[in-house]
């Protein structure tokens, strides 16, 4: 009968049950010095919680209480996430989202033909989601690829999400979407000036300053380079570990 060091630790932390727990307990009964290992883990655990316990007893600084009660700052009118956070939520919310999505779809319809308007961005789950050709481009396209949708910057956020800027309709629809639960949540979308499709532009040059400002607010570290971007695509845009 063998137990690993990690088994003993998990047992000490109360993580084992059933057969695993019985196995460790049998091992301890057979080799009492294992009991000391378990006790050691528990002693360290109590020592750690005791060392940090005083922090919980300290009065919470007023500035932190104020921060919880404050209205979130509105960093950019075209940032849907910020707008949503600022607006007092209510039963109108779903309708407002639908209206916003509809407004964006008008932009798509006016803008051009390559994206099916009804499938580009839809209101779903209290936010906006990329669908259809836009979602496919976000999933599969690299910044270097040409197409009806152009991908600009791919980056990780401080929360570990992967986000990408996009331009569709020759710049007529610009925005930023983040991969969440296998969907592309559209964090921000705005109409831009449509440009002739034949005119070559780099993705960065296409990205409006409002979108770039939003990237700056969200980004952790540097944008992914071409190799990292490919690598991220292979992992379906989940963060590396």
């Amino acid at each position: 009968m063998s137990v690993t060091h990690e088994d003993l630790m998990a047992y000490a932390d109360g993580e084992l049950d059933g057969a695993d727990k019985a196995r460790v307990e049998a091992a301890i009964a057979a080799a009492p010095d294992l009991r000391a290992v378990v006790d050691g883990h528990r002693a360290l655990r109590s020592r750690l919680s005791a060392a940090y316990a005083p922090v919980v007893e300290e009065p919470v600084p007023a500035r932190l209480l104020d921060a919880v009660r404050a209205q979130p700052a509105m960093d950019n009118v075209v940032s849907l996430g910020a707008a949503r956070a600022k607006r007092t939520p209510g039963q109108w919310q779903a309708r407002e989202w639908a209206a916003m999505a509809a407004a964006l779809l008008v932009g798509v319809i006016v803008g051009g033909q390559a994206l099916r308007p009804a499938s580009a961005i839809v209101a779903a789950n209290g936010g906006l989601e990329a669908r259809g050709a836009l979602a496919r481009a976000l999933d599969t396209q690299l910044a270097a690829d040409q197409g009806a949708v152009r991908i600009g910057v791919t980056f990780r956020t401080i929360d570990g999400d992967t986000c990408r800027t996009f331009a569709a309709q020759g710049g007529g629809l610009n925005g930023l979407a983040c991969k969440e639960n296998a969907k592309w949540r559209v964090d921000m979308a705005m109409r831009g000036e449509s440009r002739p499709a034949t005119e070559f532009r780099t993705a960065a040059a296409e990205t409006p300053p409002e979108v770039l400002a939003r990237v700056d607010a969200m980004i952790a570290g540097e944008p992914l380079d071409a190799v990292q971007e490919k690598d991220a695509r292979a992992r379906r845009w989940t963060a590396p570990r």
Binding site: H5, A51, Y52, R84, P89, Q91, G126, T157, I158
Partner: protein, 168 residues
């Protein structure tokens, strides 16, 4: 629902002591730690719509805090630097002998924790101090349970070595 947002704010208020504690583990310095808490509160309010009701709000905010701290360390370029909590030192001697012993003991543990790599320190803080289950801690850190377990084991080994010979 307006009431659910208000409810979440109330819940965040009750979490502030725990958030300050986890921030203290991450940042070491009390002032840095409270800046971190403030940043995370502001971010959480901005992203309240992304919070999944029914999941642990504390774990959600711990994740955000840890990511914010990693980002902060990266931007300051001081990863791995060891801090001594200066306030603990400054107050030694102002209490009775027993309280002083407690503070010295706490300082040992704090200093030892600050020598750990951030990933081990976070794992230990979430499990041993915040009392999250392995599964919850692994989720909060975005790693498989096996990775969490090995970080915990390695971190504990180092702490045991650093703290051996001290008070128990």
């Amino acid at each position: 629902m307006a009431s659910s947002t208000d409810g979440l704010r109330d819940e965040i208020v009750t979490l502030l002591p725990k958030l300050r504690r986890f921030a203290r583990v991450l940042a070491g310095q009390p002032a840095d730690a409270d800046d971190l808490v403030q940043l995370v509160v502001e971010r959480a309010l901005m992203r309240l719509a992304q919070y999944q009701p029914g999941t642990r709000l504390d774990a959600w905010m711990f994740t955000m805090m840890r990511n914010a701290w990693i980002d902060e360390v990266r931007s300051r370029g001081r990863r791995g630097k060891v801090f001594m909590p200066e306030e603990d030192g400054a107050h030694v001697g102002s209490d009775g002998a027993r309280a002083m012993a407690t503070r010295l003991e706490a300082m040992d543990v704090h200093a030892a924790m600050q020598t750990l790599p951030e990933e081990q320190r976070s794992a230990i803080a979430l499990v041993c101090i915040e009392g999250l289950a392995y599964r919850e801690a692994a989720e909060a850190l975005g790693v498989p349970i096996g990775t969490l377990t090995s970080r915990l084991a390695r971190g504990r080994e180092t702490l045991d070595r650093l703290l051996s010979g001290g008070a128990t």
